[in-house]
């Protein structure tokens, strides 16, 4: 089985990849590659950076119905919003496999993991970031 990222350039083997403006220091996820979005800055020098691997639950929701295509999963599945302290931003992700969402509370510490999103018809395993409890 070949392992491929479900989306290119958004995460490494261990962390989310964002960009950081070399001029004003603003962080961006997904990685912004064209222009710093701080309107007072205007720099186009954006460096790829690993985002904090840990953060705290800002909110979450368990979905009880399948989302429409191009979603490939099955309900129930959980979407978690996690607040990263250094970057001062909230990043969405699915809850890691095997975590019971009824145990989840706002403020809980979470850690990013890279897990399977789906397997395609050719047997390729598509990977994505998810949030795991610590």
């Amino acid at each position: 089985m070949t392992t491929v990222p479900a989306i290119e350039g958004w995460f490494s083997d261990t962390a989310l990849l964002g960009t950081r403006c070399a001029s004003c220091g603003s962080y961006f996820f997904p990685p912004e590659r064209t222009l710093c979005r701080n309107p007072a800055c205007g720099s186009s020098e954006l460096d790829v950076t690993e985002l904090s691997r840990r953060g705290k639950v800002w909110s979450f929701s368990v979905n009880h119905y399948d989302a429409p295509a191009p979603f490939m999963g099955k309900a129930p599945y959980t979407v978690v919003a996690v607040e990263l302290a250094t970057e001062e931003m909230v990043v969405l992700g699915q809850l890691a496999d095997g975590v019971d969402p009824s145990e989840l509370r706002i403020g809980d510490e979470m850690e990013v993991v890279i897990e399977r999103l789906f397997v395609d018809d050719d047997g390729n395993e598509h990977m994505v970031w998810k949030w795991n409890t610590t």
Binding site: A6, I7, C21, C24, G25, S26, Y27, F28, F29, P30, R37, N38, P39, A40, W58, S59, F60, S61, V62, N63, H64, Y65, D66, A67, P68, A69, P70, F71, M72, G73, Y77, V79, A81, T86, E87, E88, M89, V90, V91, L92, G93, Q94, P101, I106, L117, V128
Partner: protein
């Protein structure tokens, strides 16, 4: 006020799930609005259409589609898309045209025919579309985002599932007598809490449906209104179509993250508060002046957020307003007397126009069976995907 334009006519095609071409609904609404104004289609000097993205090419050029269906008159046209804010943006374009002296009368029309189920990406299998990505990578439907806000509200403000249900119960009661509403049925808190869980903590009866429908308004300069014998027409006194200010710390659909506030402090007003503030400032009115509001209850929980965003109460006090009946017709400041999205479901490009229709009926005293007494100032508010503000203040 010098920026006021008159609303001479309003009209709607009832909301439902009819599955007929959206043009039919738009034409019906336009004709109703023209009749209401006592004008005919050739009197119109500009037409603005709200685009629908789920009805093929005719929907992309909705303004011209409506103009063709009404009969070509050579009238200048614009079509705009701003997701749920499309109607307000179309109103804004028409208003600007009138205020610039380029026309006396403008017609604004929005109509939609919606598919069943969750709204989904429309652009095919295109991995560069952020809307495609959020479905593929997260399975984040629109109700998922509403649910994130709702749970946050429960944590920060002590909101309960019962509070969210109370919003649905109130709106269902308001919409019972509205001839244009799709759902005319009373519910109890227990009914709502027994409906299936969709995106925890939101249940089916707390999430708005997607609907077919059409709405239209006829706007005119104050001088033209006077010349046609309108002594005290309802007036559009403000239209707010602002975008967020960086860093936007609200988790907006279809985004994967908020903006980072690590190097620039967040703006004094969060985005939704800023939408309302811009409208209040333009109309020179304050929340205390409001008689009635139409807010976008995509979820019943979101309606509570709007109470605070439009300044009806401080943050954390919205639950008290719904529990005390302040926002029920007969209360201090009735919200969604039309029944809101709870009774309509959403017909995207028509919805912000429909909100304005309701405000006009309220201010004229023509909202039979759901009238807010002595309504003088009404505010509508809503927000379009990606960061489109939408708020209209109507005065009389």
């Amino acid at each position: 006020m010098e920026h006021d334009v008159a609303v001479l006519g309003v009209g709607m095609h009832p909301w439902g799930k009819w599955g007929r071409p959206f043009v039919e609904y738009g034409v019906a609404a336009a004709r109703a609005a023209l009749d209401d104004a006592g004008l005919t289609w050739p009197d119109v000097g500009f037409i603005a259409g709200g685009e629908t993205i789920r009805n093929g090419y005719a929907g992309y050029v909705a303004g011209a589609t409506f103009a063709q269906a009404l009969g070509w008159t050579g009238v200048p046209v614009a079509t705009c898309y701003a997701a749920c804010a499309a109607g307000a943006t179309a109103i804004d374009i028409a208003r600007a045209r009138i205020l610039a002296g380029l026309c006396d009368v403008a017609l604004v029309v929005g109509a939609d025919t919606t598919p069943k189920g969750f709204l989904a990406p429309t652009w095919g299998d295109n991995a560069s579309d952020p809307d495609w990505r959020r479905f593929r990578l997260l399975g984040a439907t629109n109700p998922t985002y509403f649910a994130l806000y709702a749970r946050r509200r429960m944590e920060l403000c002590g909101a309960t599932e019962e509070d969210f249900a109370r919003v649905k119960v109130k709106n269902a009661k308001h919409g019972l007598n509205n001839p244009n509403a799709r759902y005319k049925k009373e519910y109890t808190v227990a009914d709502v809490l027994e409906s299936p869980m969709v995106s925890d903590p939101l249940r089916l009866l707390q999430i708005c449906a997607t609907s077919d429908g059409g709405a239209a308004v006829v706007l005119a300069s104050m001088d033209y209104a006077k010349s046609r014998g309108f002594d005290a027409p309802a007036r559009v006194s403000a239209v707010s179509t602002i975008t967020p200010t960086f860093p936007n710390t609200v988790m907006e659909m279809p985004n994967f993250s908020t903006d980072s506030a690590a190097t620039v402090a967040p703006p004094e007003l969060p985005f939704r508060d800023a939408i309302a503030a811009a409208a209040y400032e333009e109309a020179s009115v304050s929340p205390d002046d409001l008689s009635v509001a139409e807010v976008y209850d995509l979820s019943s929980a979101l309606e509570l957020d709007w109470y605070e965003n439009i300044g009806l109460c401080k943050q954390g006090e919205a639950e008290r307003l719904i529990r005390d009946g302040d926002t029920t017709i007969g209360g201090r400041i009735p919200v969604n007397p039309s029944g809101g999205l709870a009774c309509f479901g959403e017909a995207v490009p028509a919805q912000a126009i429909a909100q304005v229709c309701e405000l006009v009926w309220q201010l004229r005293g023509q909202a039979d069976g759901r009238q807010v007494e002595n309504a003088k100032v009404g505010l509508s508010i809503n927000q379009g995907l990606f960061g489109h503000g939408s708020s209209v203040i109507v005065t009389r």
